[in-house]
């Protein structure tokens, strides 16, 4: 972290600080909290690179890194070796003396910072588990962890870098620092200059199921081929130049395994030499189909461009035949990709391959080839839904952002559950094998496939094209993408429970163990709710409750288009959304992204009021009626019940003025005062009073409390005596001068008498306590109470007449096959 970033971090801590410290939002004196304070002190100062509107500034720049790579896959040794020629374009206004490289394969070395910092029995990395000693149990280690350890013992992990030389072949000083390396340049690279160097590298490909590395190989030992087959997924596979930006300079924060990646955009020219019977799926466009594909495959690809449903380029039968034996021959596949921030690929002789052209129109990329590659283990689930969901994702995401700019969009089934790279995604869901050799999948597995493909394809937009820094801010891609995959999912089939509804984050948000969304990725305590669900819910609420769809969609599209193929920061997002929607959202960003407050708005009380007419002949009579409406004295009632006569009743001959006139009797004194008051009113005041008296409206004062701390609009539903309902939207700004308690006057027509009020009846704001949303209060059954009530109805639904015929049988012996 450079000095500038440190200053920003310090001011953030200050803003969020412990209440005992002086704070710009909450002072040490009094209980006022400035929930609407503008974010100027928190956000970085706008400059020529990033302006106050959240746009790339007039001097915005970013580096470019081009790669030419030749690489060979040694299937038997599961080793990749290659050479890369890197051209670094210094577009910055600064002179550069050294380059930083990312060596992600080194993160898995046994002596890496990431591996060394894994706690036994603790959290810290993907992969198998261990358990520490407990009071009642010895320490435990899983077979998975044993497998990982044995894999580590048997394999050399990490890069072998055999040469780093400049264009003339002169070795360059090269210093490895964990999973990074510094290359010292022979001469300072001036602004606008270029530097080219070559690097030879090799590494043993990790077994994904042993190590959990987001890429690697997967064994299929049951295949007919002797020794089985593999699916290879290659990502983070070549040494890559780290990003260098205006706000962080070198992004050389070590890869610890969670905070993912950000790189520079550049052009890639990659040749992969693999066994001749392998099919390669890759970022980019295949340059040599004549050499790599059969005539039939090329024809099928042509047919697929306009086909209504996916066309098999390699059929299941062909793939099954292909996986039965191997070859010693090799083949080189050549791909090129322009203006992408990374490059990944997959290779296997097991792949079934289908494709369908997606005609999106537009000038940039009218036709996109959507394609899927999967082993037979993917089965019908993949045949039916992978490529179709790739296309659906592009259709929906493009509508909210920009046209999909790449020529291909690929989904590959392998050992990685879900991971994204430009133009290519790895997705895990599969069918299940049965002993009768059939393959089926559960409804849940189908939903996983649809969900994960849409989500990972969606990552092409965020962060592959809108190039936010995943290592710093996971929420910037996962949060936006989770919001959009919810949009796309609901457009696929709204009956499937997609995305994140506000109610889904209540359990998380009401708890007292959280960090704000604005927390560096490796330090987030709970990545799921913090980086995916909470920001996605926040955006959902911003769209559906606060801005409305039109303003929100316009603003999000503006953000996406401003930062397409550029590198935004959180402040660019916050500023763009506010500046393009025209709505002050500082309070929203502050509450949802910089604090751990939650939403809990309660209705405390409702006072019903009636406007006095000031006319004593009316008002005094009303007071008399009010008095009569009150319950009488129990003492007096009981005396009467006992038949006890009062003195007044027993002495009816003694009477005076006060027996005929009560305390509400009007005299001319009051009438004269009333007339005098009317006379003194200005004509428009008199008119207003007369009209109000005539209309005789109902006045209600509703008291609200903000118990959760997070200020939000109050969505109020009023129910009237006649059964009709009315919704009232009270903007969040009602809390700006009184953040804890506010009152609101509601005026209704004389005949519209309120009987009840509810805050947020549709559960749209993630309000954690529904019970205090109702006035009058009502009993909200607990989840278990509600379940018991529902369950009591359930036995009737059983078909006992049928089930009674079920024969008792011994469970069958378990046979496992992948």
């Amino acid at each position: 972290m450079n000095f500038r970033a440190l200053i920003a971090g310090a001011s953030l801590c200050f803003a969020l600080g412990n209440p005992v410290h002086a704070d710009i939002v909450q002072q040490t004196k009094g209980d006022f909290v400035d929930k609407f304070r503008q974010l100027d002190e928190i956000l970085p100062t706008p400059n020529d690179y990033r302006n106050a509107a959240g746009e790339p500034g007039k001097a915005y720049w970013q580096q470019q890194v081009d790669y030419r790579i030749e690489v060979t896959l040694d299937e038997n040794r599961r080793r990749l070796s290659g050479t890369e020629t890197i051209t670094y374009h210094n577009n910055s206004p600064y002179r550069i003396k050294y380059l930083w490289l990312q060596l992600e394969q080194n993160r898995f070395k046994p002596d890496s910072a990431a591996e060394r910092s894994v706690a036994f029995g603790g959290i810290g990395r993907r992969g198998p588990s261990t358990r520490n000693i407990e009071d009642d149990k010895p320490a435990g280690i899983s077979l998975g962890e044993l497998r990982r350890q044995q894999y580590y013992a048997d394999n050399e992990i990490g890069y072998d870098i055999s040469a780093v030389v400049d264009a003339s072949g002169t070795p360059l000083p090269f210093t490895v620092v964990g999973s990074q390396a510094r290359i010292d340049l022979p001469a300072t690279l001036e602004p606008g200059g270029q530097f080219q160097f070559r690097l030879d590298f090799a590494f043993n490909i990790l077994e994904e199921n042993a190590v959990s590395a987001r890429s690697g190989y997967e064994r299929f030992p049951d295949d007919a081929r002797k020794g089985g087959n593999d699916v290879f997924l290659l990502a983070q596979w070549f040494p890559r130049v780290a990003a260098y930006s205006d706000y962080e300079a070198w992004h050389n924060k070590e890869f610890l395994g969670r905070g993912e990646f950000t790189l520079e955009f550049g052009n890639y020219d990659v040749r992969m030499t693999v066994p001749a019977d392998h099919i390669v799926a890759s970022t980019g466009v295949l340059q040599n189909p004549q050499e790599t594909l059969t005539r039939a495959q090329r024809q099928r690809l042509e047919t697929a461009k306009t086909a209504p449903r996916p066309v098999f380029i390699v059929t299941a039968a062909e793939a099954l035949e292909n996986e039965k034996q191997g070859t010693r021959r090799t083949k080189t596949w050549h791909f090129k990709a322009d203006n992408v921030r990374d490059f990944a690929w997959a290779s296997s002789r097991k792949f079934i391959w289908d494709a369908r052209g997606y005609t999106q129109g537009g000038a940039e990329q009218p036709l996109v080839m959507a394609m899927s590659y999967y082993p037979k283990e993917g089965g019908d689930l993949w045949k039916k839904y992978s490529t179709e969901s790739v296309i659906h994702a592009m259709e929906v995401y493009s509508r909210f952002t920009f046209d999909y700019p790449y020529p291909v969009s690929i989904s590959v089934n392998g050992p990685v559950g879900g991971m994204e790279y430009p133009m290519i995604t790895f997705n895990g869901p599969r069918t299940t094998w049965h002993k009768d050799e059939s393959r089926t999948y559960s409804l849940a597995e189908k939903r996983f496939l649809l969900g994960v493909v849409i989500h990972e394809v969606g990552h092409n937009y965020f962060p592959m094209i809108v190039n936010s820094d995943e290592r710093q801010w996971t929420w910037m891609d996962e949060g936006l993408n989770s919001y959009l995959d919810g949009v796309a999912g609901r457009e696929w089939d709204p009956d499937i429970p997609w995305g994140v509804e506000p109610r889904d984050v209540i359990e998380y948000m009401k708890s007292d163990v959280q960090v704000p969304i604005m927390t560096q990725s490796d330090s987030v305590l709970k990545l799921g709710p913090n980086a995916y669900a909470k920001p996605a819910v926040a955006l959902n609420i911003l769209r559906e409750v606060i801005l409305g769809r039109e303003l929100f969609d316009f603003a999000l599209k503006e953000y996406a288009q401003r930062w397409k193929n550029k590198r935004p920061t959180p402040s660019d997002f916050f500023r763009t959304m506010e500046e393009s929607s025209g709505i002050d959202l500082d309070w929203f960003w502050y509450g949802w992204f910089y604090t751990t407050d939650h939403v809990d708005i309660a209705i405390d009380r409702v006072h019903r009021l009636r406007l006095d007419t000031e006319n004593p002949d009316i008002d005094f009579d009303r007071r008399r009626q009010e008095e009569l409406d009150k319950p009488g004295s129990l003492f007096v009632e009981r005396n009467r019940a006992e038949g006890r006569k009062t003195w007044v009743e027993l002495n009816r001959d003694v009477r005076d003025f006060y027996d005929k006139n009560d305390r509400f009797t009007v005299t001319n004194k009051e009438r004269n005062e009333y007339r005098e008051m009317l006379e003194k009113l200005k004509p428009r005041e008199r008119e207003a009073l007369q009209r109000a008296v005539k209309e005789d409206k109902n006045y209600y004062v509703v008291d609200f409390s903000n118990l959760g701390g997070l200020v939000m609009p109050i969505l109020l539903e009023l129910t009237y005596k006649n059964g009709s309902k009315e919704d009232i939207y009270i903007p969040a700004e009602i809390w700006r001068r009184s953040p804890h308690k506010v009152s609101k006057l509601i005026v209704t027509d004389k005949r519209r008498e309120l009987v009840s009020l509810v805050v947020d009846p549709g559960w749209e704001t993630a309000d954690v306590d529904v019970e205090n949303n109702h006035y009058p209060r009502r009993i909200i059954p607990s989840r278990i109470e509600a379940f018991k009530k529902e369950k009591s109805k359930q036995p009737e639904h059983r078909d006992i007449m049928h089930d009674i015929k079920t024969e008792a049988k011994e469970p069958e012996k378990e046979v496992y096959k992948k």
Binding site: T130, A139, G417, K510, D769, I784
Partner: protein, 161 residues
């Protein structure tokens, strides 16, 4: 020397899901209306189904009651409550339920007398994948006390006065 034992056999590969959440929520509610200590566990069906398969069991939580019962048993086996003196609080099963993308498991017992602290341990899925975090909210009189239990955690104590 203390023993090092094998955790439940994970014979098959671990699928790392970028969008798999690997988290569960448990609410321990002091329901003064019913007089019961009510425990509701919420899991993603996604996580639960994959975990069952990794534990070597066939799993179809949406279609198959056996799968649901199996996972429900598994969750109850991996969750424990104790009072301040270490006495086990014996919860009994209320049932389980699929709701949207979640699988819920329910337990309850009468609210124990004079309980000032509650000790909680929740191990579900942590033997399957170490990143699993089990989040516990103890809700008494609308005051929430929370604890996040990772694979490294054993018993945690929460004040409920």
């Amino acid at each position: 020397m203390r023993l090092l034992v094998l955790l439940a056999a994970l014979a098959v590969g671990l699928h790392t899901q970028a969008h798999q959440q690997k988290e569960a929520y448990t609410t321990v509610l002091f329901n003064t209306r019913s007089g019961n200590l009510e425990v509701s566990h919420r899991f993603y069906i996604h996580d639960a189904e994959h975990a069952l398969r990794l534990l070597g069991k066939p799993a179809d939580l949406l279609a198959d009651e056996n799968s649901r019962a199996r996972f429900s048993d598994y969750v109850r086996d991996h969750f424990q409550l104790r009072d301040g003196d270490g006495g086990r609080l014996a919860l009994h099963s209320v049932g389980h339920q699929v709701e949207g993308k979640y699988f819920w498991v329910y337990q309850e017992m009468p609210i124990p007398a004079a309980v000032k602290v509650i000790q909680v341990k929740m191990r579900a899925l942590q033997e399957v994948w170490p990143r699993q975090i089990n989040h516990i909210n103890v809700d008494k009189d609308k005051r929430i006390r929370s604890v996040r239990l990772s694979a490294a955690d054993s018993w945690k104590t929460l004040a409920v006065e």
